[in-house]
């Protein structure tokens, strides 16, 4: 008897669903859609199954995002972004104050020591944020959000940021977040 391979739902749409629905509801909804998808593929063909899956995911996104906001999940992500960006922005303002007080004024280049302080602070903030994750997927999400927090701070900063600092900061934030998850994750 000829057997057909079991089709898989479209990977990009499944990833979009999991990203928008969050860890809590995402897996349950993905499971439900998967079950119905297999049923439709068998009864009416792969094309119908894929179109139905896409329609369900896209039309469900607004409700799922609202659900995620109500559950406080998105709030936590915003808090992580702010907790990484805010200290860096405060430090940038402090360094502006320091350099503004040089008696015969100076430009926007920062001493390597001050950038090293920024780096240390962003690593600590990212590590603390990573420790809040309970699953590996959540840790990956928080590490990405930490990197976004650094990007926001770099964009809004007044001080000049050399290339080594930009690259280092954008890599150090997610790395520290994942390290914080590995070392201190909440059970």
């Amino acid at each position: 008897m000829k057997t057909y391979p079991v089709p898989d739902p479209p990977a990009i749409l499944r990833a979009l669903l999991l990203a928008c629905a969050g860890d809590g509801h995402g897996e349950l909804i993905a499971g439900d859609l998967h079950e119905e998808f297999l049923y439709l593929c068998e009864e009416r063909g792969d094309g119908v199954g894929r179109r139905w899956y896409a329609s369900q995911v896209v039309r469900s996104l607004p409700e799922l995002l609202r659900l995620r906001i109500r559950s406080g999940d998105l709030t936590q992500l915003l808090a992580v972004l702010a907790s990484v960006a805010a200290p860096l922005l405060l430090l940038d303002r402090l360094w502006c104050f320091v350099y503004s007080h040089i008696p015969l004024k100076d430009g926007l280049d920062r001493a390597a020591g001050l950038l090293a302080v920024n780096m240390a602070v962003l690593c600590i903030a990212s590590a603390i944020s990573g420790a809040l994750a309970r699953t590996a997927r959540r840790a990956a999400t928080l590490s990405l959000v930490s990197a976004m927090g650094v990007a926001v701070a770099l964009w809004a900063s007044v001080g000049a940021a050399p290339a080594w600092y930009i690259a280092g900061a954008l890599l150090a934030a997610p790395a520290s977040s994942l390290a914080g998850y590995k070392k201190w994750r909440t059970q």
């Binding site: 402090l94 360094w95 502006c96 104050f97 320091v98 350099y99 503004s100 007080h101 040089i102 008696p103 015969l104 004024k105 100076d106 430009g107 926007l108 001493a111 001050l114 602070v121 600590i124 603390i128 420790a131 007044v158 001080g159 909440t186």
Partner: protein, 183 residues
């Protein structure tokens, strides 16, 4: 609760320890003093123009927008002001008032600098003829800030001020020597 305590301790360590360190460093003997020097292939008379004349000063002291001439004339007690661009304050222009405290061309120039509610300082230029057409220029600066936060940050400000002064003197040397070559 455990995490609140941990984060609280981290914040305290990140704020209190550095503040205490800065406070202690602010008590060191060289606090608020900057000195830098350069040797230039030029005579003291040639170099004197570059520190006395406003249009020349503008070329080597970075972020200087305008340097007014001495008033009424160059001598002890005369005044002049410098307008500087503050890139760290949104490009705002700051006026630094100067009063001549020593005027002995081509060897010594002393200027008292002040910005109300910001800082007061004394800057002196010493030119020494090294012979063979070379001159050593030594700049010494000492200053005091009005704001408590600026006084706390002094251990960070002074090294940056020295670095800036070194950069300015390197520019001065390059300008003086390249213009001397053209002559």
């Amino acid at each position: 609760m455990k995490w609140v305590k941990r984060i609280g301790m981290a914040v305290a360590a990140l704020v209190i320890l550095p503040a205490l360190t800065l406070l202690l460093l602010g008590l060191r003997s060289g606090a608020g003093r900057v000195q830098s020097s350069v040797e230039v292939q030029a005579s003291p008379d040639q170099l004197w123009t570059w520190i006395d004349d406003g249009d020349h000063v503008k070329q080597w002291v970075s972020w200087t927008v305008e340097m007014k001439p001495w008033s009424p004339r160059a001598a002890v007690g005369a005044t002049r002001s410098a307008v500087m661009r503050d890139a760290n304050n949104g490009g705002a222009q700051m006026v630094i008032d100067g009063t001549c405290t020593e005027y002995a061309p081509p060897r010594t120039l002393g200027v008292k600098l002040s910005v109300p509610n910001e800082f007061e300082g004394l800057q002196t230029y010493h030119l020494t003829d090294l012979g063979d057409g070379r001159t050593r220029l030594v700049i010494e600066m000492s200053y005091h800030f009005d704001s408590a936060l600026a006084r706390l940050m002094e251990p960070l400000i002074t090294p940056s001020a020295r670095k800036k002064m070194d950069g300015d003197l390197a520019r001065l040397k390059s300008l003086v020597e390249s213009k001397a070559e053209l002559r």
